[in-house]
């Protein structure tokens, strides 16, 4: 299993291939299209992350000291971004998630291509993921 940092480095390498913002956006859009949509049971208000202009739902489960994250959005670019977050965070131990230093967003130049509203939404998502990790850790 790759570490959170290793996965982030992979993403940074992938984004280094892109020449301009439109290629980055196209990649996010394609990622968004491939991430499976939630069924209506999980598209519920209690799974909604506050602070996003589009709707973003985040769901998690905890087994064998590992957290599995799933997410969905009604906007495709948001969905592409959360698919990156899931790739980074899902399948890891709570303590690894809590201690992780998330630097790929800045290093792939995503935050400079996101409006302040979007950037805040992204921060809310990372925060919510870490809150889940804290909650699961304290349950152990």
């Amino acid at each position: 299993m790759k570490s959170i940092q290793q996965i982030q480095n992979e993403i940074i390498d992938e984004f280094n291939f892109f020449q301009d913002w439109s290629e980055k956006y196209q990649y996010l859009i394609d990622l968004g299209k491939t991430l499976p949509a939630f069924d209506s049971d999980n598209r519920i208000d209690s799974n909604l992350i506050k602070g996003c202009q589009s709707k973003v739902w985040l769901n998690s489960s905890f087994n064998n000291n590992i957290i599995i994250f799933e997410a969905d959005s009604d906007a495709i670019i948001s969905k592409g971004i959360i698919s990156l977050l899931i790739r980074v965070f899902s399948g890891h131990k709570p303590e690894d998630i809590i201690e992780s230093n998330i630097d790929f967003i800045e290093k792939i130049g995503l935050n400079s291509h996101l409006s302040q509203t979007r950037a805040n939404g992204l921060l809310s998502m990372v925060k919510q993921i870490k809150i889940y990790a804290l909650a699961y850790q304290s349950k152990k």
Binding site: W21, Y25, Q26, S54, A75, I76, I77, R118
Partner: protein, 404 residues
């Protein structure tokens, strides 16, 4: 017709680069840009006149007071208001609405009814909901037709004897619809109901004569009219303003204060407690003078030509749906393309340096009416150009192909 390229030289922000491309500013319904003629007046105020008004005997204070009261006269003349003291400077449209809603708390009871419309901005919904919570009065809603106009036949049915007030916007911020406010006002008056018109979206686009409209209250914001943020005005017929209690207590709004009793000042000071946004008010006056120097007839005709041009070009895009595509509207186009989320289109347009608004535009009931999460809204001003619209529609097509 106006010379748009000469006008653009007045607006320093229009030469700004966004994401290494020229800024295309199509979010004018949210706030308009500010010309040098206004920026310079505000800057000059702080350099040469800064002082508190209506208080000092010294020359600076007199100068500041003159400039402030001159702005009131400009507003009075521009909006066809009979008396300067019927112009109350506020922090904006929302503030003006709240002065009225809080003033009506003691005047209304559970027997009374108020009317708003389905296409109001949240700022012309929430204060009245809060008022109804306090007084037990009932809020009734004029429904919207599917073309984005108000259902006036239904409005007539809603005008029952218990209706005390009608609160309606002149122009919808989301759809651009120009509502038939003269008819709305006249019908209300026949029913002995008073009317407040939210002019936030109308004042920038055509000339309005409040005396001819015979409206009871009117509110607007300077920042939609090339003026600074944090300033607006409330117009009210003097007998109605006189009958309302003050909104805030403080300095300036009193004529005599003892610990036994305080007498309130006359209009307009009764509603202008504390030191106002003096520089902002003076800037507001300068903004109205600037727009009048261009001419509202020219502005209206030019913006109509931009609207028609953009509407025609956008309609050629596969899968586009324009909400409120009617003749009686200002230069605002709200649209969606296929089932793409408006925020996806807005994010891509931003990469092209194009500023549009996406989302619900503080009008959730309109979104519920059309059953959509939001729209992309492009709103044009007299300093925008057809070549900007060309770049915009090209960018929308590019966004569509990226998302498709």
């Amino acid at each position: 017709m106006l010379d748009v390229y000469k006008i653009r030289e007045d607006f320093p922000i229009l030469s700004k680069k966004i994401n290494n491309t020229d800024l295309i500013y199509f979010d004018n319904a949210a706030t308009s840009q500010t010309p040098n003629q206004v920026i310079d007046v505000i800057s000059d105020y702080y350099k040469n006149s800064n002082s508190n008004i209506h208080r000092g005997l010294h020359s600076l204070s007199a100068d500041a007071t003159d400039k402030y009261e001159n702005a009131r006269a400009i507003v009075k003349n521009h909006f066809g208001i009979s008396n300067s003291f019927e112009v109350i400077f506020t922090s904006g449209t929302t503030h003006g609405i709240n002065i009225i809603s809080s003033g009506l708390e003691k005047e209304l009871s559970s027997k009374d009814e108020l009317i708003i419309s389905e296409m109001e901005h949240h700022s012309n919904i929430v204060p009245w909901q809060m008022l109804c919570d306090k007084t037990g009065s009932k809020l009734k809603i004029i429904p919207m037709n599917s073309d984005g106009t108000l259902n006036i036949d239904k409005y007539k049915l809603l005008l029952t004897p218990n209706v005390k007030f009608v609160f309606v916007n002149h122009v919808s911020n989301t759809l651009g619809t120009i509502n038939p406010i003269k008819e709305i006002i006249d019908l209300a008056h026949l029913n002995n109901s008073k009317v407040l018109i939210d002019g936030a979206q109308s004042a920038a686009h055509f000339k309005i004569n409040l005396s001819e409209l015979d409206v009871d209250f009117y509110v607007a914001s300077a920042h939609k009219l090339c003026g600074p943020t944090g300033v607006g005005f409330l117009y009210g017929k003097s007998e109605l303003l006189d009958s309302l209690p003050p909104y805030q207590g403080g300095g300036e709004m009193i004529s005599n204060v003892t610990f036994k009793q305080t007498e309130y000042a006359e209009l307009p000071h009764k509603f202008e407690a504390g030191t106002p946004n003096i520089a902002g008010v003076i800037g507001f006056g300068a903004a109205l003078e600037y727009m009048n120097s261009i001419g509202f007839d020219n502005i209206e005709a030019y913006e109509k030509s931009l609207l028609d041009y953009a509407t025609e070009k956008l309609k050629k895009i596969d899968g586009i749906k324009i909400y409120g595509d009617i003749n009686e509207k200002i230069s605002v186009i709200s649209f969606n393309i296929k089932d793409y989320h408006p925020s996806d289109i807005g994010s891509i347009l931003d990469q092209f340096g194009i500023a549009v608004r996406t989302g619900q535009h503080c009008t959730q009931p309109i979104m519920d009416h059309f059953n959509i999460p939001g729209t992309v809204r492009a709103s044009f001003s007299f300093y925008n150009t057809k070549s900007e619209i060309d770049l915009f529609t090209d960018a929308v097509e590019k966004a569509t192909s990226m998302l498709g």
